[in-house]
């Protein structure tokens, strides 16, 4: 099938005027079409001109990019993994130290019916009873404002730990 002038010229634009890269149908059209051959020649020159237009590689900019990347952490799940792990451990600890709920939950787990784990959980429950008693005594003797401040400081401390952990990752820069 013979290619039309428009098809040939579209292909010439696409291939930067390189006649040798054209499909055979376009090639045979070109052999008999003076105008398309002229366009092929002009397209080669235009392509060369435009390919010179972008600036040269900038090594200084590349170094600056790599330095900037090195100073910025990736938002990866791994970055937050220590925080998630800490929260999970704290939650597990809360359940374990929560007295009766801890034992109740442990009994539901298959293979935990043995006496040793139950004994451990009971010991934990005893500790939790003692801790709860201490907490209640503290709550009745310490003003609410002080307790609020303590909670605020604890949360601030946790945020500080998370911030420092992320900052430590950041210091692993580009070589």
């Amino acid at each position: 099938m013979q290619a039309t002038c428009e098809t040939v010229r579209e292909e010439l634009v696409r291939r930067g005027g390189r006649v040798e890269d054209l499909f055979p149908a376009c090639g045979s059209h070109l052999a008999g079409c003076v105008e398309c051959r002229e366009i092929a020649a002009v397209e080669r020159r235009l392509h060369r001109l435009l390919s010179e237009a972008p600036p040269q590689a900038d090594v200084k900019l590349q170094k600056s990019i790599l330095a900037a990347i090195g100073s910025r952490p990736r938002r990866r799940f791994l970055t937050w993994l220590p925080v998630f792990a800490s929260l999970l451990i704290a939650a597990a600890g809360a359940v374990a130290m929560g007295g009766v709920p801890g034992i109740g939950l442990a009994r539901l787990v298959p293979g935990w019916a043995g006496q040793a784990p139950i004994a451990v959980m009971r010991a934990a429950a005893d500790w939790s009873v003692a801790l709860v008693a201490v907490a209640k005594a503290t709550a009745s003797s310490v003003p609410a404002a002080v307790r609020f401040l303590a909670v605020f400081l604890a949360l601030g401390g946790a945020a500080g730990v998370a911030f420092l952990a992320r900052r430590a990752r950041r210091s692993a820069g580009w070589k």
Binding site: E6, R9, E10, V13, R14, I39, V42, E43, R45, L46, L49, L50, S51, E52, A53, P54, P55, Q56, A57, D58, L61, Q62, S64, I65, L66, A68, I69, G70, R72, R74, R75, R76, F77, W174, K175
Partner: protein
């Protein structure tokens, strides 16, 4: 690419070395300011680094990279339009005409030794219809293939082919003295 996705620093350095020139060239021509384009090039790679986890390897990296660069460039132009007070004069018919302030240090084609040629290329590209201009920048300054442009612009390959053909027809006329 797979090494870069795993956070391998040397692989990422190779990606920066491979694409920096094209990203800067594309942004320089899009923005019209070399220094801003350099800043945006850096921001492009920082965004890429921050979002590598979300990159789907079944797509082309270059398409993704230039989409980020393009969005940053367009955002910058939008902000600049909002914050810049334009200098306007009136033409013969009383219509407002914006006056461009010449600044040689910011010329995106300032590396050309032939100043007249650089000016002609710049003017020819600037005078293109915006839809053609963008495709020309993606093709010749970003160095993307037709298929990559079609993916990035979410348009059929045939449309890209046709628009670039028309854009080249305009450019051939505008740059006839240099061809």
């Amino acid at each position: 690419m797979s090494l870069a996705l795993e956070g391998d620093q040397e692989a990422l350095a190779a990606l920066v070395a491979r694409y920096q020139r094209r990203v800067t060239g594309f942004l320089t021509q899009l923005i019209g300011d070399v220094e801003v384009a350099r800043d945006l090039t850096q921001e492009t790679f920082l965004r890429v680094w921050g979002a590598l986890d979300r990159f789907d390897p079944k797509y082309r990296f270059s398409t993704w990279l230039f989409r980020i660069a393009h969005n940053l460039g367009v955002d910058h132009l939008r902000r600049r339009r909002l914050t810049t007070t334009s200098l306007e004069v009136e033409d013969r018919e009383g219509q407002p005409v914006e006056v461009a302030v010449a600044d040689g240090s910011k010329d995106p084609l300032g590396h050309f030794e032939n100043v007249a040629l650089a000016g002609a290329i710049r003017a020819a590209i600037e005078n293109l219809r915006s839809e053609y201009r963008e495709l020309i920048l993606l093709r010749h300054f970003a160095g993307l293939s037709y298929q990559e442009i079609a993916d990035l612009e979410s348009m059929p390959l045939g449309t890209v082919k046709n628009k670039l053909f028309r854009a080249h027809t305009v450019l051939r006329g505008a740059l006839a003295d240099f061809l």
